[in-house]
């Protein structure tokens, strides 16, 4: 009987197991199927919960134009703060060549869009010469404070603080002992009782002064950046290590850190009326409740003006109301300011309806600027930009290319691809890229010569976003081809090139002759010319030790300082020894161009291109399998627009947009004066100013005549450079190196 019962139970147990397994099987199957299923396209998050309607409400950026006083064309904002119903800000006229006259204005901007402007004579009375590091703020005590810096007779920096307790009718300068030790005030704020909290460039921490300017105490802060915000007895600043925002409570002497990775570019803090702290930097605007523990993202910097590379935040203010309104002033490279308001729009979609993906190996500022500009016209489209080599994953180029190829083979991939470092020719051959002709036709006019350089059989699969131009400044000789360079190599500097630098220069600018070599003899002929150039330019295995210019440093140390860029030693020797220098320029404001142009005017010589060659900076292609062709076309047209291309006269490369190029070439900055030192004592130097109109016109003519894009193939260059360097150093002869070079070349080509 017992046995029967146990057998029954055992059987039951077995059945239970089977039953359980049978129940689990469909569960696992459904988990497998639905777990692997693709996520629903479009909005993720709120839409799933609320149904098909997407969540609404977000902060939108809108530019603010200040009413300019009569006769003033541009203003520089020197301070901003919240007032009842809006913000007030202080400005000074700016001509683009510096501050024109010591006239100061106060603007009051109301949330309803009205604004007023009045002159502030009390500021002009003290800040007569414009000064530097000027800033005007209203303190929590209601008084107006102005700070500026100048120099004493011995040339030491001095900081000044001015206070007006009657709203600008009269003002007095604070003369307390705490002020005498200040050199350059980088930020400040006043508390309700008149105490001043000051960040000084020369000090290790924040200084707290009493209402008379006498030092009371010091607080720790970051030396890298300074920003101060006051709320009652609380002071917000950047923590010493730059890894948090620190809140000091002066009532009990305590402090608390709110973790935040402070970026390299300017960061600004300000408190709202409810005590919430706002932080603005290049990544956007973030909010932290006074009793909270998290930062809330309010504005995404990747689609806002603060995210543009050449924009530097100068002020942040929060105007109260039903929802806080944010005001940001931005300093442009030309010295003028732009003002933006961020207001909550309850009707704007919280998440974009459409997402465009842009891929590149290397970060491209033009793309970043275009994303900001595009988000203003298409707030329903979010552009995600992935510059893989900038990511913290630590992958190699090959890893990222393979990951991209996997996506492309699966019929997916980004909508827009920057082809720098990617196998562009192969993508065209495989039909990955879309013909851009119609899109470029619909965009603002681009340089016709550049467009033609990329047309293949009437189709346009890629266009550069900007250009780098290799230039030659020479008193004699020709340099358009390798033959000409070999013939004129005696004119080159004898102290400017390491074997590697010369090898790279030749491969970059003249490598095509080798890449197209049909046999070993052609490779040998190329190497013989290289050897001849190396001998004429005095480049040997020991070149590194012989390069010293006048810095008194061994060549190895000098090269650590200036890298493999041979521009500085070339310029140093062009003054009295050599007759030619070869260099690459990317913008009118590029240092190489400024010094090169200066050398042409001061030392003589003809400026020319290397034949009609140019370097594409950011080669743009569109994935034929992209999911949003209309938006992609619109974004590409934005990339090619003058507004985006002409953002900076100092970097990024020369615009391919014809109007932007003309504007860049017309741009002048008389404030620029620079010097390149060739010795430690700064006695031996070369100085230059902004390139003259004639030189700029010359460069424009060169650019408009460029027809041949230089091949950008880092793998091939890397493959051949070692052989070339061995040949230059003398470890190999052209005869012995030629079979190896041709063997590598043919293996590469036969793949």
């Amino acid at each position: 009987m017992h046995h029967r019962i146990w057998r029954y139970i055992f059987r039951m147990k077995l059945n239970w197991k089977r039953t359980l397994a049978a129940l689990l099987a469909p569960l696992m199957l459904s988990a497998l199927i639905f777990g692997c299923a693709p996520k629903p396209s479009g909005n993720v998050g709120g839409s799933d919960v609320l149904g098909s309607e997407s969540a609404k409400g977000r902060y939108m950026e809108s530019p603010l134009l200040l009413d300019l006083p009569e006769g003033v064309t541009r203003l520089a904002v020197i301070g901003m703060g919240a007032v009842e119903g809006g913000v007030e800000l202080f400005s000074v006229p700016h001509s683009g060549e510096g501050i024109t006259e010591p006239v100061y204005y106060r603007h009051t901007l109301k949330s309803d869009g009205t604004q007023s402007c009045r002159e502030e004579p009390w500021l002009a009375e003290y800040m007569k010469h414009g000064g530097n590091q000027m800033s005007v703020q209203r303190g929590a005590d209601g008084a107006l404070y102005g700070v500026w810096g100048d120099y004493d007779e011995a040339g030491n920096m001095l900081a000044h603080i001015l206070v007006s307790r009657d709203d600008g009718k009269t003002a007095t300068e604070l003369m307390g002992d705490g002020i005498k030790s200040l050199k350059m005030i980088t930020d400040f704020a006043a508390m309700q009782d008149g105490r001043l909290v000051i960040a000084d460039w020369d000090a290790n921490g924040l200084c707290v002064l009493d209402a008379e300017g006498n030092r009371i105490q010091e607080l720790e802060t970051s030396r890298l950046q300074s920003s101060i915000a006051i709320y009652g007895n609380k002071i917000a600043t950047i923590a010493p290590e730059g890894k948090a925002v620190r809140i000091y409570d002066l009532s009990d002497g305590s402090h608390v850190d709110w973790a935040y990775e402070i970026g390299k570019r300017s960061t600004h803090l300000t408190f709202a009326q409810d005590g919430a702290l706002y932080l603005a930097d290049a990544t956007g605007i973030h909010r932290h409740a006074l009793d909270g523990t998290l930062w809330e993202g309010i504005v995404d910097g990747s689609s806002a003006s603060m995210g543009i590379s050449n924009n530097y935040l100068t002020s942040l203010a929060v105007a109260g109301g039903e929802r806080d309104e944010l005001y940001v002033s931005i300093y442009k490279m030309d010295g003028a300011s732009e003002l933006f308001r961020y207001a909550f729009d309850p009707e704007a979609a919280r998440t974009a309806d459409i997402e465009l993906n842009v891929f590149s190996l290397y970060d491209n500022e033009i793309v970043r600027n275009a994303i900001v500009a595009f988000s203003r016209v298409r707030s329903d489209v979010k552009v995600n930009y992935t510059a893989t080599m900038k990511m913290k994953g630590g992958g190699t180029e090959q890893d990222y290319i393979k990951a991209l190829n996997t996506e492309l083979l699966a019929g997916n991939g980004p909508d827009v691809i920057l082809l720098d470092g990617l196998p562009a020719d192969s993508y065209v051959e495989k039909g990955v890229l879309q013909d851009l002709s119609a899109i470029v036709d619909g965009a603002e006019p681009m340089l016709e010569n550049v467009r033609k350089a990329y047309e293949k059989d009437g189709k346009l699969y890629s266009v550069p976003l900007a250009l780098g131009v290799p230039l030659v400044l020479a008193r004699s000789g020709g340099y358009a081809t390798l033959d000409e360079l070999a013939g004129s190599a005696d004119s080159l500097s004898k102290k400017a090139f390491t074997p590697s630098a010369l090898g790279k220069l030749i491969l970059t600018y003249y490598g095509e002759e080798l890449y197209s070599a049909g046999d070993e003899a052609a490779a040998r002929a190329f190497l013989e010319k290289v050897k001849r150039i190396a001998e004429a330019a005095g480049v040997t295995a020991n070149s590194l030790e012989e390069l010293s210019i006048g810095w008194g440093l061994p060549g190895t140390q000098m090269m650590e300082l200036i890298g493999e860029d041979s521009f500085t030693p070339q310029l140093a020797t062009y003054r009295n020894e050599s007759d030619a220098m070869i260099f690459n320029v990317h913008a009118v404001g590029d240092m190489n161009f400024a010094f090169g142009a200066g050398a042409a005017e001061q030392l003589g010589g003809e400026l020319s291109g290397i034949g009609d060659k140019f370097i594409a900076e950011g080669l743009l292609g569109i994935n034929k399998a992209g999911k949003h062709p209309e938006e992609t076309a619109q974004f590409v047209q934005m990339l090619l627009s003058a507004g985006v291309q002409g953002t900076s006269a100092y970097q990024h490369g020369f615009p391919v947009n014809a109007a932007a190029l003309d504007a860049m070439m017309a741009f002048e900055n008389d404030n620029v004066s620079m010097a390149l030192n060739f010795d430690n004592e700064r006695k031996d130097f070369f100085s230059a100013e902004w390139p003259s109109e004639a030189i700029r016109e010359k460069l424009k003519t060169i650019i408009r005549g460029l027809k041949t894009p230089l091949r950008s193939d880092s793998a091939l260059e890397e493959l051949l450079l070692s052989e070339l360097v061995a040949c230059i150093e003398g470890g190999e002869t052209p005869e012995s190196a030629a079979p190896k070079v041709f063997s590598k070349l043919s293996a590469y080509r036969s793949e």
């Binding site: 492309l408 993508y427 495989k430 043919s746």
Partner: protein, 291 residues
């Protein structure tokens, strides 16, 4: 009646076996069979899979200089390395099995290279075989000329050496396991019958090691493909042509989005491997028949 019961039992056992095998079969189907089928399909299509090209990809691959070079190098590497590794490791295992003195110490020492991460191995290779490395310095000290060992014809020997150094210990352990499975009484009986050491090795050890030899050879073959990691990290995408292996080529093709060539090459390799297996089976069956 008994027959029916047996048949029923067999069916139930087969069903049970199938249930147990199902997960791994599914895994093989998803991870191996389906990709293989996709590769075969792609080998007849253009790179992006949008047009049929027939045997065009095969024709292109078979006349591709790089493919022929990579095939030749890979074949040469396998042909040199596997016999060398099997022979050296067997001889070392025999020596170790005959001595009790520090056997474990030797085994551990030989196994150490397996425990060293690839990046460290690469550093060691570069420190020793770089143009200005240890070996060149030694050559100079002895009056010889330094050489760029990794960027010359020596590169192949360096890679072979690296492979042997890394895999020797593992194979020794496998051989030792096989040797320990041979009964000592067989050797004793052979000695009584007057067999010498060579005869005992030839007629007892070698035949009884055949299963171990098969497994060791297969593992050596698999490990030989892993040497690509070292070759890639030491010499990059385009190493000296003597160590330019199939993996280099396939990796470079993928970088250039030449999926059609990869598919055709992989199909050809698969065909070659299947052919080799079939030939092996044919030879074995002929031997068994003649025996």
């Amino acid at each position: 009646m008994i027959m029916r019961v047996k048949r029923k039992k067999r069916h139930s056992e087969a069903g049970m076996a199938l249930c147990f095998l199902a997960p791994s079969l599914a895994g093989i189907a998803v991870m191996f069979l389906a990709p293989t089928a996709d590769v075969l399909r792609r080998s007849f299509l253009s790179s992006m899979g949008d047009s049929f090209v027939g045997f065009g990809n095969y024709a292109a691959v078979l006349v591709n200089e790089s493919f022929l070079l990579a095939m030749a190098n890979t074949g040469r590497f396998l042909f040199v390395c596997i016999p060398l590794l099997l022979t050296i490791s067997l001889l070392t295992a025999l020596l170790l099995s005959r001595t009790r003195w520090c056997q474990n110490l030797f085994k551990t020492t030989y196994l150490l290279p397996l425990a060293i991460p690839v990046t460290s191995v690469v550093l060691i290779i570069q420190a020793v075989f770089h143009k200005n490395g240890l070996l060149s310095t030694l050559c100079e000290a002895l009056g010889g000329a330094p050489a760029d060992w990794l960027n010359s014809e020596y590169a192949f020997s360096v890679l072979v050496l690296c492979y042997l150094w890394k895999n020797l210990g593992y194979n020794i352990v496998l051989w030792l396991a096989g040797l320990s499975g041979i009964s000592e009484s067989l050797y004793e009986a052979a000695r009584i019958d007057g067999a010498g050491p060579w005869q005992r090795f030839r007629f007892i050890t070698l035949p009884l090691l055949r299963p171990t030899a098969f497994m060791t050879a297969v593992l050596a073959l698999i490990n030989s493909f892993k040497v690509f990691r070292e070759a890639y990290l030491v010499a990059g995408r385009y190493p000296h042509r003597s160590i330019y292996m199939l993996q280099h080529l396939l990796s470079n093709w993928f970088t250039n989005l030449d999926m059609q060539k990869i598919s055709a090459a992989a199909s050809l390799l698969l065909f070659a491997i299947l052919l080799a297996i079939a030939a092996g089976q044919f030879i074995t069956s002929r031997k068994e028949e003649s025996a």
